[in-house]
Symmetry: C2
Subunit: 401 residues, 2 copies
């Protein structure tokens, strides 16, 4: 993990030595997200991508309010997955014009909130049309909608498949023409399409192929649309490396491919913007989870570093967030970065369960009580995606530095 | 699931028809725990077990404060896993004399709180001895301790293995004699042993074998103890059935076996009480998770019931709480209990992830928007063990009825 500098053997996060940062936070465990890295990641992406491609932050990856506010200032829009996220996005300064709301089970009250807020709703079910029409009439406001399409293909090699086959997400591509007719009949304000084929993909060619298929599908569906397409959200799927042997995603092939799609879009769907919706890719590498060694135990020849953090704060690192086979996230002793790995240690948390595992039999420097354990690649799907109340331990703190 | 009555096709929980209960709660999703079932489970166990065997509630299974208070009135003691749980147990009326505190990474402040509260600390590391001695001196109070032993055997066929081999839990059996010497030298008040070999086991003979091995090990270790053994906590491990084909645990063989152990204990360790520490077994079957159908979708021939509840409230039912292979928890349409299963449906939640699954391709009656989906066997490791903040949906409510 080269994104965080090391000075005098100590990891620097947000420009601060880790131990000083821990003192500033006042307690462990904590998550820290580095503003400079967040900004650098967005800038790198902007520099590579065609200028006309719009960049959205999918805040489900990390809904920490301060971070959402910061990201809202860097990207072109924010994608939310619930009314709760909508509130955080708006509080954080996101412009309602550039907020979109997706989710397979939007409650009636949430749909009404979305209309009142003036954000774009990605319709995922015919049921939503009636609720939105009613809300629009009651509020005297347009119901801005796009159609989330469940494509008839999938993003190959994804961590999660979000499209292809029977799915609760979106509307099956073959049902979309009929749905577009219903949208027109209900008087909703149609703006475009949203296609999201998969997530956490490290293969540029697979992402390009899915983007191409998404574009072609949207182009076919646009012929049935009640209004010109203004928004064509191609989803995300850009992965980050977590495990040994994984390489960072190659941006250039995607950028080249998007430039060609953008040129087609300008000809074939004039007035439409291509949008990428990225969560993990924008924030995942900018965050660390930090906990403190509470005990060092040797049981039957195996070294255990028992920390004050664990699966209750970081379910994904424990291997219980959808992983089929558990692999170690990158882990280090943050105040001994120059020390050689001289022993094999297992890093666990304070919970009375063998699931509470942060690193299993990993080569590490000899850590002592009080040392700071760092779990890298923790900026996405960390604090908010973990069972914080499990076993009644203190909540973890999140800081943006 | 026969523990909840059905009246006029509607499930009754806590003596109330489910739809009325939902109205009383005021919203979905919610967990409901049935007092009568909790009481019946404890009574059934008491009736089967030798009267002298003490029954503890391991509140990690369900830390809802009202439930902990209710359970404290039914059992002989409460086992806590953190200072946070300790507070809830004491608030709930548990007597400090009958509270014990286990956990592999107790922080210094937690150990001090335990001494101040006067509860029994299960020592899991030599480090804790010094901290406890210091706390005892500072507070002018005895530090009551037992030794949590990592046995040299495991509970075969368990959902989770908590003992045998290298483990972060407890002190390796072979290191215990030396540790007992340190406890004596530090002037701590020794009371006994705690052995916990595994959890969620449905094989009575495996539980009996582990209890027997635990007893024999404790008897050998007692020869090194600085004071007579008063508490011999044999752990738990009693499972409940979740999946098709699983049978309820046979209590009688365990009761017979414990009666024999109790007789030995009276001869060989006079003054010692055998204790069972049960969590899931006491509360798991008394609870349901209830959510409402928000949408009914058919995608490429497959029926999806999209509900307002999901993995953010019930990680275990989604198959992401340590399960290697996901299997469906028992699920029903709570207001259509008399209707025949006439279709195969997949029940999902509102989250934008394929992990958000409550039942996959399950035969169910034809459910409609507004119907109440019930997940049974949800009284343990439900609300507290789930990533409640994920995607910003409303928190679920818990009620004791």
């Amino acid at each position: 993990m080269t994104q965080f500098p090391i000075v005098d053997g100590e990891l620097q996060v947000g420009g601060l030595p880790l131990r000083r940062l821990a003192e500033r936070v006042g307690r462990t465990p904590f998550y820290a997200y580095d503003r400079a890295l967040l900004r650098a990641q967005v800038n790198e992406l902007r520099a590579a991508l065609p200028a006309a491609v719009r960049l959205h932050y999918a805040m489900k990856a990390n809904p920490m309010p301060a971070l959402v506010g910061f990201m809202a200032g860097l990207v072109d829009g924010v994608d939310v997955a619930s009314a709760g996220e909508l509130k955080v996005a708006l509080d954080g300064g996101a412009s309602p014009a550039e907020v979109s709301f997706a989710g397979p089970g939007k409650r009636d009250a949430e749909l009404r909130q979305a209309v009142a807020a003036g954000v774009l709703v990605n319709i995922e079910s015919a049921r939503e049309i009636g609720v939105l029409a009613q809300a629009a009439a009651a509020l005297g406001m347009p119901a801005r909608v796009a159609v989330r399409v469940n494509p008839d293909f999938e993003l190959k090699g994804s961590g999660m498949r979000m499209g292809g086959g029977p799915k609760p997400f979106g509307v099956d591509a073959e049902q979309v023409p009929d749905l577009l007719g219903q949208i027109a009949a209900a008087g909703l304000s149609f703006e475009g399409f949203h296609l999201f084929a998969g997530s956490q993909n490290l293969r540029a060619e697979a992402i390009c192929a899915a983007q191409c298929q998404s574009y072609e599908l949207a182009l076919r569906l646009a012929a049935h649309a009640p209004a010109p397409v203004r928004v064509l959200n191609l989803g995300g799927g850009f992965g980050i490396p977590y495990f040994p042997g994984e390489q960072r995603l190659a941006l250039q092939p995607i950028a080249d491919h998007l430039a060609a799609l953008q040129a087609r879009c300008e000809r074939e769907l004039p007035g439409a913007s291509l949008t990428l919706e990225l969560g993990r890719y924008l924030v995942g590498e900018a965050g660390v989870y930090v906990c403190r060694v509470v005990d060092r135990k040797i049981s039957r020849g195996q070294v255990f570093l028992v920390t004050d953090g664990g699966m209750h704060h970081h379910l994904a690192a424990s291997g219980n967030f959808g992983q089929v086979v558990r692999r170690n996230y990158p882990v280090a002793v943050g105040n001994r970065m120059d020390a050689a790995a001289c022993e094999t240690a297992t890093v666990v948390g304070p919970l009375c369960t063998p699931l509470d595992l942060l690193a299993e039999r990993m080569p590490l420097p000899e850590a002592q009580v009080g040392d700071l354990i760092v779990v890298f690649q923790s900026g996405a799907y960390g604090a908010s995606a973990s069972p914080a109340a499990f076993l009644g331990h203190p909540a973890c703190v999140e800081v943006l530095v």
